[in-house]
Symmetry: C2
Amino acid sequence: MLNFTYDIPTRIHFGRGEIKALSGELETCAKKVLVVTGQGSVKRNGIFNDVVREIKKAGIPFVELTGIKPNPRLKSVYRGIEICKAEGVDFILAVGGGSVIDASKAIAAGAKYKNDVWDFFTKDVVCTEAVPLGAVLTLAATGSEMNSYGVITKEDTERKLAFGTPLVRPVFSILDPEYTYTVNKYHTSAGIVDIMVHIFEEYFSAPPTAVVQDRIAEALLKVCIKYGPIACKKPKDYEARANILWAGTLALNGLLGNGKSGDWASHGIEHEISAIYDITHGVGLGIIVPNWMKVVLSKNTLDKFVEFGINVWDVDKDKGKEKIANIAIEKTRDFFTALGVPSKLSAVSVPQDRFRDMAKGAIESYGQVGSFKKLSEEDIVKILTFSL
Amino acid sequence: MLNFTYDIPTRIHFGRGEIKALSGELETCAKKVLVVTGQGSVKRNGIFNDVVREIKKAGIPFVELTGIKPNPRLKSVYRGIEICKAEGVDFILAVGGGSVIDASKAIAAGAKYKNDVWDFFTKDVVCTEAVPLGAVLTLAATGSEMNSYGVITKEDTERKLAFGTPLVRPVFSILDPEYTYTVNKYHTSAGIVDIMVHIFEEYFSAPPTAVVQDRIAEALLKVCIKYGPIACKKPKDYEARANILWAGTLALNGLLGNGKSGDWASHGIEHEISAIYDITHGVGLGIIVPNWMKVVLSKNTLDKFVEFGINVWDVDKDKGKEKIANIAIEKTRDFFTALGVPSKLSAVSVPQDRFRDMAKGAIESYGQVGSFKKLSEEDIVKILTFSL
């Protein structure tokens, strides 16, 4: 196990009706709130009304930023920063999924920075101050509700990059499984894939001696495998929605990653795709990951895939190691397919003509792509080609 | 899954050499420190020297309270409170295991309370202020390093009771696996049993729908089962010590208990025993728990024991349910025995003559003993008699 600092102070209010905690939270830390939302679903399904009721209960004025898109754009971040500065906002409340929370984090950092917020993504600039923020989560997927990271796309240059600072970790997040009831099957599935890939990125990484983390990773994967299909079939199954929601938060709050090196190659590659083609993040990951597994499976990585096969997919221990590893990879692919997410890039209208650019772009953005196996440009092209 | 608030702000510095974080932590929050230690082991093995070096690096004066015993006594808590008041202590640093940390928590609460600190244990008094504290952990067992609870014994009345408030949750804890290298086999084993029983108290409780929590509980149990025997045989095995240390912290920081009801009957019974006979907490738990399992196994609880048998002890799924449950209980007992902890109360000189008093005492102290199965006085006497 590597040394680590575990410092996860986000307060989580989890469960049915927990929106009631919002007014109390805001009373302690906000004088003027910017409420950030996505493309209108929270206004249609009543969640926004619940939020407004609580803000009013706290007696705090608020302004709005609406229309944050999936793969949130830098342009909307700039808009949010302007509002914060013009309106004297001292607290940001993200009401939505990962895109809304990530955009809110960039706004939070940018509102207290005198230069261009994009510096945090592209330059070695340390964020020293940010507007505090909280979240009301409406989609099980991101993990952003309890971590320090955000991903933003700069459309004109086709770059999708991450930044992180503990200053943008939400002070609190409200997780009501019922708030995810109206998420459609497509996005429910994509969210589950996203959660599982977050776990993979941490699970398939050195050192093999962080066994607490790896056994917990397997535990959360089993929750996704058990409840994913149920949530897709019965969108109002509280038990399924609750377990997936909590698994998604724990998958990327540091619990699995602390003490390990992390891989993050699949995310690096997917960001290159969705920066250009604007596909759903979880869908892109679901297409890439089984092929990433195929490419990184080698003598050096075999034992980890065997562990994965036996502990997660219940593959018979007595089969040979290579067989176990390959079965595990195919079971992963089959599970994603059964959830109903597209399994080919061609199915989401991503052609092969820019694969080489994407491979170069990933290496340019991340310096090194992957640590479980460091990927070459050729490896990335191969993964993308297998994914076609 | 029950609704819950997850709010665990303790910062953990985990790994070899992490004592180096101490001076920085103290600089931000302490002007005068009370260092609380146990019966001298930290002075013999060099940990105390490391701590003093860091305090001096921070340039902060400190005073000492030494001699905290296992099953920490109220008397020593009073002594600590006096020192805090007399010396103007504004930060408490516990250097030791659960007893030292628990005593420090009671001192922290008592130093800011105008009446008797024992009120927090026996009356419906809410703690509103406490001296902040941190911990340098030297034993994998307690969980106290990352939670809000403490247990203290009032010798003259033979009562051992718990109290809790978020105000005594350590601000930070330093967990260096190498600091547990010198723990002898007996206390290493007892610590591992303590960790496992903390997990059982949460795992064997309603509702069965908190599956994230239960899969993680099984993950941590597997870590104990894998590394417990290794840590006993090879006390300087970093991997074993690290995984057990981190499992012990996660076992009782809220991760497993949030969203569940908890049982805590075994702890209730053990506290009655050790309040009178001063036995090692983990040893008492290890003797009681398999017999608690025997007594609570019924048609209502069978499925949970089956899950336990299959997921934790790899019992063959195809055996009948009752057989799986009983095998799981015997495997638990055998594991504790193989670790070398005593398996009978008679082996630790606890006679049966006060079993009835203990049963009454547990019910008096806790109102209800157990929730997985609510135990009657007869049930408790039966568990104790089986444990003889």
